[in-house]
């Protein structure tokens, strides 16, 4: 589902955020991405949605080589990737419902289907009773869950989450992780960037660790292990 081949990212300012990162993830696999602040976690996630382009190396998502993707095709790629953003990126000029509905609006889903899917997603994150509220009136944790509902409303085959539990208490964090786990069980590839070492350990999934832009552990893909690479 995901393949990074010696990917480097050097920002315009001259800072190299990723250095020769290689790893692969299978369909339905769930993994964590950890590392100190500034290690390059967000950068790595951004490469997959073409919010940034790599300076060197290749990124493949769903078999598609992203460096060969033309700008016109980028939106169609993004429709298949659910993203939970570090700073949630909610819009405060509309209701929770309308925020979550956005990925469905852009694909032109019929209104009835939008209503059904948005409520299903809000139900999963336990916010069904707040659909009419403005997200600004929600707590930080609730806002984060709205962001998660928006990421999954489209049932994307790939889910990327950047610090999805940053503002949540341990109990809620565990719930959200369970939710991600459920997604991976139905075939969704899930990659979660997280500082929360304890939670990551408790989940027992594969862990990719970045240090100053280099992948220091967890890089070998299941396939490579199989082939004794």
């Amino acid at each position: 589902m995901i393949e990074f081949d010696r990917v480097s990212k050097r920002y315009d300012g001259g800072y190299t955020a990723l250095k020769g990162v290689s790893f692969a993830m299978d369909r339905g696999e769930m993994a964590f991405l950890t590392g100190h602040s500034g290690a390059g976690k967000s950068t790595l996630l951004k490469l997959m949605t073409v919010m940034e382009r790599p300076s060197a190396g290749n990124v493949l998502v769903g078999g598609q080589a992203l460096n060969r993707l033309r700008p016109r095709q980028v939106p169609f790629l993004r429709r298949h990737i659910g993203v939970v953003f570090q700073n949630h990126q909610l819009l405060f000029d509309r209701t929770v419902f309308d925020n979550v509905a956005m990925p469905l609006e852009v694909i032109g889903a019929p209104p009835g289907e939008i209503g059904r899917r948005v409520r299903a997603a809000l139900d999963k994150v336990g916010l069904l009773n707040k659909e009419r509220m403005n997200p600004i009136a929600l707590s930080g944790g609730e806002q984060q869950r709205v962001g998660i509902a928006r990421a999954v409303v489209n049932k994307p085959p790939l889910l990327l989450a950047d610090e999805p539990t940053g503002n949540l208490d341990p109990e809620l964090s565990a719930d959200i992780m369970q939710l991600f786990e459920q997604f991976s069980q139905v075939g969704v590839t899930v990659l979660v960037a997280s500082h929360d070492a304890e939670l990551v350990r408790a989940m027992g999934n594969r862990v990719l660790t970045l240090r100053e832009g280099e992948l220091v552990s967890g890089g070998a893909s299941p396939r490579e292990q199989l082939h004794g690479h």
Partner: protein, 334 residues
């Protein structure tokens, strides 16, 4: 469902267009357009002062050249009217008598290039002059009637061209007892030259104002884009195409254009109504058939379409320059 099949297709095949269930796609596409148009309009209505100002500015900038164009076409109507009734006036010699007058009238009237003749005997001419000029007292001092007999000839349809009329005049001049032949083409030509000049001025003005309108709308839309930056970023992040993200702004431009066109229509109707009285009186003083033609319904509709187009164009310019540049990589710095 089309969306279901798209989701299952995975990123690679998702990029290829799905042809299945196109009917559902079309329906929701139309529904989305309608919704976007409605929401864009509601946004404008929610800020009545700003939108009203923009509409008024547009209205004035449209009404000005449009009003001048209408005036111009009224003037062209005048010259056209005169061309068809441009009559040739034959003044007879003072010595000519009533019999000669009748003979000349018959001769001129029988010509194939003359469709109609009218005779004004000198007494009648004097009587009319007396009545209309208010100089009757002064006229009483004159010993004899200074006015000659007059024959007025209307050129037949085929010769109603400057060259045709000129040739006719040349031939009539040769006739016996004719002192002078006049045709009132002079001021007609002046009028037509002036309307032509005026026409160019008006079209230049219209062109400049149209450019100004596009810029005004462009700037208004640019501000709207700026204020909705976050929404644009998120739309792009969840897979909104450029066309999708542009759509509300293009509709906003169209609404500005339509509102401006409507404003212009109202302005034109009101000001023409305001002017029609004095203009009618002025025209009757000049014994002119001049009528100030107002905005016809069809022209009004055309103006609306045109102004909507201008609004759309302005929005397009702004969107091209400012919206496509908003890319999600700026999301954390935003």
């Amino acid at each position: 469902m089309a969306t279901e099949s798209q989701r299952d297709a995975g990123p690679r095949r998702g990029a290829a267009r799905q042809k299945t269930a196109w009917r559902v796609l079309l329906d929701s596409y139309v529904a989305h357009h309608r919704k976007t148009a409605r929401q864009s309009f509601q946004r404008l209505i929610a800020q009545p002062l700003t939108s009203g100002m923009t509409w008024l500015v547009m209205g004035i900038a449209l009404a000005l050249p449009m009003g001048l164009l209408l005036l111009l076409s009224s003037l062209q109507g005048v010259s056209a009217g005169w061309e068809s009734t441009a009559r040739v006036t034959l003044y007879l010699e003072q010595s000519a008598d009533q019999a000669q007058l009748q003979a000349l009238a018959a001769k001129v009237g029988s010509r194939p290039d003359v469709s109609d003749v009218a005779v004004i005997p000198r007494d009648e001419a004097l009587a009319e002059f007396r009545a209309s000029s208010g100089l009757s007292d002064a006229l009483d001092y004159l010993e004899s009637n200074p006015l000659p007999h007059t024959v007025m000839a209307t050129p037949a349809e085929p010769v109603r061209t400057p060259e045709g009329v000129e040739a006719l005049v040349g031939e009539l001049r040769q006739l016996e007892a004719v002192a002078q032949v006049q045709v009132d083409l002079g001021w007609l030509q002046r009028l037509s030259t002036m309307t032509e000049l005026l026409g160019r001025v008006v079209w230049t003005l219209a062109l400049l104002l149209a450019v100004a309108l596009v810029l005004v709308i462009g700037n208004t839309i640019r501000l709207a884009i700026e204020s909705r930056r976050d929404e644009i970023l998120v739309s792009k992040l969840v897979g909104g195409t450029n066309a999708f993200v542009r759509r509300p702004f293009l509709y906003t431009g169209v609404w500005y254009g339509l509102g401006g066109g409507l404003c212009a229509w109202i302005l034109l109707v009101v000001s023409f109504w305001w002017l029609s009285g004095p203009v009618g009186r002025l025209a009757s003083l000049y014994r002119s058939d001049f009528v100030l033609a107002g905005l016809s319904f069809a022209d009004g509709l055309l103006m609306l379409v045109f102004s909507a187009l201008l609004g759309w164009l302005g929005a397009w310019v702004a969107v091209k320059r400012h919206l496509d540049a908003i890319e999600p990589s700026q999301i954390d710095s935003a």
